[in-house]
Point group: none
Chain length 258, copies 2
């Protein structure tokens, strides 16, 4: 078992202190360093930093991977290298194999979102989890998939299925991040709609101004016209600030111009 | 308004026949052709083929975009080019702006998964929908975001937020494709929102009337006041009938009373 001792230490101290537990991404037979770097960036965008490589074609460390990963060096520097999938997942309690193609294996197939929920449950229960990704050329071999607890599927357009390694890593990391409670409460909360009384005041003012100008005509259509106007404003979800703005707008419009 | 006539025809015949209705992806100020091509590939993996470009830096068509998109040429060939965001979304009834940064605008912020559900509802109700993506350098400008009904947010790791254009497109297209499987039956089918051009006409009329009456004062606050006004109307989801009603309302209010 080869591994980068320095990187390992870094991932235990700096990274582990800063980054919450997450599944480890295992790239099996990856070829181009650029793709490993791109996968590292994709992962870190969604808080996944544990990377393991099985038989990287061009050896390790890889300058192209480091260059492409710029900014995500915490992932690249902490990567560990293994000779076999078995070794790479030896310390893991739950393993998913990412595939696009149908397999003859009788493993459960879980879509990415459901798989992320499963990973969250296992990790919350204290298990170390891994997600396997195949190389650019052949994807995962059946023997590698057989090592997994389940298959993680990303259903793509059957007429154009060309998800690359970094894109597959992005989708899985993204789904993982969605399961985090922290990611779920949006810091950019929506501003609430104004209270109904403020809105009613606005529509009353508007109706009065329109009434003065003979808008509700012919008379028999008046009630429906008023109702529709009120419905449009009710449904719009204006905020307090917007209702105040619209008061000013109506008052301004009813002034003579120039 | 510039557009590639040939591409347009292609996207109406071949693509439309093969590909189910989906939101249109609008890339605003995209820079590198490679990134446009990568976005096209990301989109088509998840069945999204409608692409519009606003002010592509290196012109259009773009050889690098075509080369990078290889296999996804249906997206590149069908792309239409516009001078402004307004023109690009003129025929759309519901528009989302993808951003990572916090905005001062009072638009609702919807995470990508919820946004995909909204898009599905609007499209099922017959509205043409668009999702705006900013360019590599600056993302979307506040003025562009103000044209949207809501902000689509992709919550990334605050310590490493470097989602690129193709990755953002991938996440949105992926979430969109998931809603197809989820067969959303919405018992209360909504009336579709008016096309953007009608709404823009209404807000233009309103702004002109307010301008004549010295509403946008003091001058330095004018741009923000205009933006907020536009945002309030963009977000309201007025139907065609309501937009017509509001035209009448504004015209009536600007008449002298009595």
């Amino acid at each position: 078992m080869k591994e980068t001792r320095k990187g390992e230490r870094l991932s235990r101290s700096t990274a582990a202190a800063r980054i919450a537990p997450a599944p480890i991404f295992v790239l099996v037979d990856p070829q181009m360093g650029e793709n490993i770097g791109a996968a590292a960036r994709a992962m870190l965008n969604f808080g996944v930093s544990g990377l393991r490589l099985v038989r990287p074609r061009d050896g390790w460390p890889n300058e192209k991977a480091s260059a492409m990963a710029s900014g995500a060096s915490i992932v690249i520097d902490g990567a560990r290298v293994f000779d076999t999938v078995d070794e790479a997942i030896a310390d893991c309690g739950y393993v998913l194999a990412t595939t696009a193609r149908r397999r003859e294996l009788s493993l459960p197939v879980i879509p990415a979102d459901g798989a992320a929920v499963e990973l969250r449950k296992k990790i919350d229960a204290g298990a170390r989890c891994a997600v396997l990704f195949g190389g650019e050329r052949n994807g995962l071999l059946s023997d590698d998939v057989a090592n997994a607890d389940a298959v993680l599927s990303i259903p793509v357009n059957p007429a154009f299925a060309s998800l690359n390694l970094a894109q597959a890593a992005l989708v899985v990391a993204y789904e993982w991040s969605k399961t985090a409670a922290a990611a779920l409460d949006d810091p950019m909360a929506e501003e609430p709609a104004a209270e109904r009384a403020a809105l009613t005041g606005l529509v009353d003012l508007l109706e009065a101004a329109l009434d003065e100008r003979g808008y509700f005509f012919p008379e028999e259509k008046g009630p429906a016209m008023r109702r529709n106007l009120r419905a449009a404003f009710s449904r719009a979800g204006f905020t307090d600030g917007e209702v105040r703005t619209l008061f000013g707008v109506v008052k301004t419009l009813t002034r003579p111009s120039g």
